[in-house]
Symmetry: C2
Subunit: 711 residues, 2 copies
């Protein structure tokens, strides 16, 4: 936009804000639309019926008439709209009726006049709008418009300002995408014009922070172009407080010292069993941390046999981390000392800050930390694990199964669920981190680190909010091409209570913005806690798929049907088997078995049939992923199936052929041992479910698509 | 409808069918619409432009013109429609253009003329239609109509003919229900007229089996009434083959002898380990069946120490069941003997019938069975278990945990998954039944029996199809008021391939009809295998809720948020806590804990806080169900929580206060033992998931609503 255009908008906004108004009138909105090249109908304000007729003559019949009053927002409700007025007499009658309706609707309303408007050419009714999201800031929306907009709920969101590519991708992201491309002989809409409109509206919102919402509904889109029949602009003078940010290099430097420390101080270390400071010390020692562990306690000479210091200032060397295990009221003083000592990381286990209403106390410690350049993890957390360092800086129990998944949780309870699940499933973990109140360090800092950490192959995060949605999106975009990021967003259903000021605003509630923006950041969203845990356990186990062709090989026809359902549910593609491959599979299975896909080898087959068909599935380069359905029989017992499958997969892996293989085992309880055996050998296997293995495969595919590693 | 009206329809249909046509022309459809009081625009056929102008004059301007040709089904595609023609000149020009467009579109099409039609008054565009569903027969559809119909997919189905109450319930069953009731100042539609239209259309389809589909889209519904702008009727001369049916009394008589037999014959019993006839004998004996077990084998004198008979004819007494463990080719002869012996039930384990393409062989044995009045279970099954009779008539392993759930599966593999899941979770079972090819006995027979069986408190069925959807609906409706019926419908996603002849037809694919009709029958549909198994395990454990108020009591705030999400996802209501109750809860929890709902008692609390708040939740009559979130701490270890919860629930149960209580346990692996302990004591508890306990509670509520036991 030119400076001149921006000045027009600025003047309109300033005038409205000066009067304390939260909504622009239609004529004001038109001035802004014109400045940002938003196509709207020709129109003018009439103050009497004669003037309305004259204006209609100039604009050209038919016209629409609409009441103009700052107090009347829902014009239709007020009887303030008439359309399709084709004659002077009709315009005159409509003017009188609209004004008297408006007076009856709200006797106190100031009536500025009646807008005379060009009738909009027919087309597909779409919606273009923006909202100010509490997490992501300015967000642009596009979807199907019209009166059914909140029923259809076919809408997609992007961060504003949106690029032209963003805008074009929005046209393909709604369910009704084919309508825009033209169906049943209808013409396709002008995609370029529509994309330009989206870009322009998104820039308008981004350029002016005080524009809270823009709502263009309906916009009529046709082969001839686009025109917004109604433009609503809502204002909010509240400035957004900027957040302190760190550079990527700064984050990596302090995060490396946090996650790979050589020396840890424990402030509040204790010899007394049951105290948090005792548990933390024990876990550090019992966990086998090979670096220095320095207890700090003014009333003890040694803790668990290690020399204790009166103050963290007295600790020798340069500790990388100070773990706080002292009551909230003592934190500020100890944090001052930590800062003076030059320790870059404070892990604040204590509660009693913002989560109990002590917001001021939290702000005080954040200010201290910022003054000294100390990064805070917490407060109100269980601590953290860095397993490859044998570091258990937590009051929970130690965990030592090293592996590829880094898990974080905002809530301590969820942290305990992570620990129990990991232990019972023997999940290999690189880190478990409590985030608690997130007064400073948060998900984007951790993502930045885990993205670089060579031990971490997958990151799974439980979160209830994001302190800075855009920083998270940036960190996710940088990380996803390297490794999957799984997010469990709690509090999905709470946003519904948002008061809706516009169609766009109403549609932006209920978690829709989070969902769209996280997806575009390439994040795999877990629908629930157990899904997050299972994705975390499974994704590092599976190799990345190199193409879309999924083949089901099953001993149980019934499992094959359910696995096919799951494949469709998870957006995967059942491969259409070419004739030569079909014949090759058929050669291994009984005549009444079914080739095609699922390949039903039938229930009574020996291990050799499973092996031959799995081999073929791995061998043929046109097949990209295998879903196995096992049926427990005397002929092929569970562990026999598990052993042969693991052996064949390993053999191909040695030959450099790696494809994701997942399995559903239907059988008596021996299948549980078989699943664990398979899991430990790179085959994601579950008993008593046809859904979970395919859901996990679907998550891997979602990541592969987002990361751009697929075909 | 009067006989005269029906005769009009009959004549139109017969004439079209005689010419081999599959679609009616618009004038034919209008005749039928008029006969069944379906409001359609005034119209007439014009064969030349002059006639069109004259007709438009009579009907009144503006009018619409539409091409009439049996070969042109999609008129718009052919350029065969013009609307809003307001003058004689416009009508004349449109006539010429439509005819030449149609000629260009399909030079071979026979052009009957052009329909001149009254323009339909404005209103909400809805769709009314019918399809012939392969499972449920004639089904009526209602939903949002218009060009976006297949994008919006806001449609609901009922069995045809629909009652007036059915039709009115349809208006409330779509997402856009509020649109029909009038929003933003719009007037509500005429519900009576709309319901009458739905009833009339459903009767039309039911009265004439050869009407395959009816599609009224759009129907304009307004405060002034309804009018169908377009009526499409598709024909299918195929008669539906009626199925043999049995009376309820007949079903109960033979099912009682099947499920509570005193004497069982095993045809093909064997001493040879590894043979199915050996496994079946072993399981009957090892399972402890106290009735008579008679092996039948022409080449043995005794089997497992019991006297063997050459033929089932030689077996003493009146066996209730003959279990077949012989190859398919010998079944017919043995079934003849079974019939002659007067044995009412043949359990056909062998495969090699319809499932391997041997349809004729299957029809042969069905004919034999019908001749003798023998009911067949199978063929192609693993057999069945009737645990309260200690009866394991199967080649799988015995199962002896008696309890309240009856499980059936169409597939053997799923049967094995049922067995393994039940064993590992110690699920109490009344029966497990394989249904296989369902050549005779099917889900509705079993439902009828299990509905009466006092041991059975819940029925869970895996099925891939229903042989007779209406019989199943009848059986389900009779059973659901007594006990929950859970269905896992496999092959959900396959129906999408159905060729769509109309909007209604397209919308009836993708499992939508199954979903709607099963819901109206009161069935709880499980989204996947694991869900079905968990519902089966849990529903008999939980008492029925007596009202909608669900309260969450949690030690982990993070779990509380996720449990609240799950409550919304499962259609449950988080109770709004009245002030006095809020104060009562607050008295038990720390000042920084949160009352309200979830009630966050905070993580560090002792057992007494859990106990006091759970007691209050059970005591207060305004609360109807409890969802507990447990957080593993040293202060309240998992088994302490489990013991206190089970004790308090039992104490209230003894006082006659029973409410469903479910729990999510977040913690280290000890929570697994705690969950099993709770489950065995009537509290549905899961580790590492906040979703499953609430999903199960949601299933119980769905049943309670369907059964009419809720408030």
């Amino acid at each position: 936009m030119t400076q001149q255009n921006k000045a027009v908008v600025r003047a309109v906004l300033d005038a409205a804000l000066a009067k304390g108004r939260k909504a622009l009138t239609a004529p004001e909105a038109k001035l802004i639309a014109d400045a940002y090249a938003v196509p709207v109908p020709a129109e003018a304000l009439a103050e009497c019926a004669d003037e309305a007729v004259a204006l209609a003559d100039r604009i050209g019949f038919p016209v629409a008439l609409k009441i103009v009053s700052p107090q009347i927002v829902h014009k239709t409700d007020a009887g303030g709209v008439r359309t399709g007025l084709a004659t002077a007499a009709a315009v005159r009658a409509a003017f009188t009726s609209i004004v008297s309706n408006a007076r009856a609707y709200d006797p106190a309303a100031e009536i500025k006049g009646v807008q005379v408007q060009q009738m909009v050419p027919a087309g597909t009714e779409v919606l273009v709008g923006t909202v100010t999201d509490p997490t992501f800031g300015k967000v642009v929306a596009f979807g199907i418009g019209g009166v059914l907009v909140e029923v259809v709920k076919d809408i997609t969101f992007r961060l504003a300002p949106a690029s032209r590519d963003d805008a074009l991708s929005m046209l393909d992201s709604i369910r009704a995408a084919e309508i825009l491309r033209g169906v049943r002989g209808g013409a396709a809409v002008d995609r370029t014009a529509l994309a330009e409109l989206i870009v322009g509206v998104s820039r308008l919102a981004a350029d002016f922070p005080e524009i809270a919402e823009i709502d263009l509904n309906p916009v009529f889109a046709s082969a001839d172009g686009v025109m917004a029949a109604d433009v609503r602009i809502l204002l909010d003078p509240q400035p957004v407080k900027p957040r302190r940010t760190y550079s990527r290099a700064e984050i990596l430097t302090s995060m490396r010292r946090l996650m790979e420390p050589r020396s840890v101080a424990v402030i509040g270390a204790s010899n007394e069993a049951g105290k948090i400071g005792n548990s933390v010390m024990r876990n550090l020692v019992d966990g086998g941390f090979p670096g220095e562990i320095h207890p700090v306690n003014p009333r003890a000479d040694d803790i668990l046999g290690r020399k204790a210091y009166k103050s963290v200032m007295d600790v020798p060397g340069e500790p990388d981390v100070a773990v706080f295990a002292i009551p909230a009221k003592f934190v500020a003083a100890a944090l001052e000392e930590t800062g003076r000592k030059g320790i870059p990381n404070a892990v604040l286990i204590p509660s009693g800050f913002a989560e109990t209403g002590e917001q001021a106390l939290q702000e005080e410690i954040v200010a201290i930390a910022e003054r000294y350049g100390v990064r805070i993890l917490g407060p109100n957390i269980y601590g953290y694990y860095s397993t490859w360092q044998d570091l258990c800086a937590t009051f929970c129990t130690p965990y030592d199964v090293k592996g590829g998944v880094a898990l974080t949780s905002q809530s301590g309870g969820i942290g305990m669920a992570i620990l129990g699940f990991a232990r019972t499933t023997k999940t290999g973990v690189s880190a478990i981190v409590g985030l608690g109140n997130k007064s400073d360090l948060d998900e984007d800092d951790l993502l930045t680190w885990f993205g670089e950490d060579p031990h971490t192959e997958c990151i799974a995060m439980h979160l209830e909010d994001l302190k800075d949605g855009r920083a998270f999106v940036d960190a996710a975009r940088a990380t996803v091409p390297k490794k999957p990021v799984v997010v469990l967003k709690a509090g999905r259903t709470g946003a519904g209570a948002r008061a809706a000021g516009s169609h766009t605003g109403a549609l932006a509630g209920d978690d829709a913005v989070y969902d769209d923006i996280l997806r575009q950041a390439g994040v795999i969203r877990a629908p629930g806690l157990n899904d997050m845990l299972e994705y975390a356990r499974s994704l590092p186990v599976l190799p990345a798929p190199k193409g879309d062709n999924v083949v089901v090989i099953t001993g149980a026809g019934g499992s094959g049907v359910l696995l096919s359902d799951a494949i469709v549910d998870n957006g995967l593609s059942l491969m259409e088997i070419p004739a030569d491959l079909d014949a090759a599979f058929k050669a291994f299975i009984p005549p009444f078995g079914a080739a095609g896909n699922p390949i039903d080898i039938t229930g009574g087959e020996p291990p050799s049939t499973y092996e031959a068909t799995i081999r073929l599935g791995l061998e043929d380069p046109r097949i990209h992923a295998l879903v196995l359905g096992y049926w427990h029989t005397i002929v092929t017992p569970p562990m026999v199936f598990a052993e042969l499958t693991a052996r064949v997969v390993a053999e191909f892996r040695e030959r450099g052929i790696e494809k994701p293989v997942v399995a559903s085992l239907a059988g008596d309880v021996e299948v549980e041992e078989a699943c664990q055996y398979l899991f430990e050998r790179g085959v994601v296997a579950y008993p008593y479910t046809t859904e979970k293995p395919v859901e996990v495969l679907g998550a891997k595919y979602r990541w592969a698509r987002a990361a751009g590693v697929l075909g």
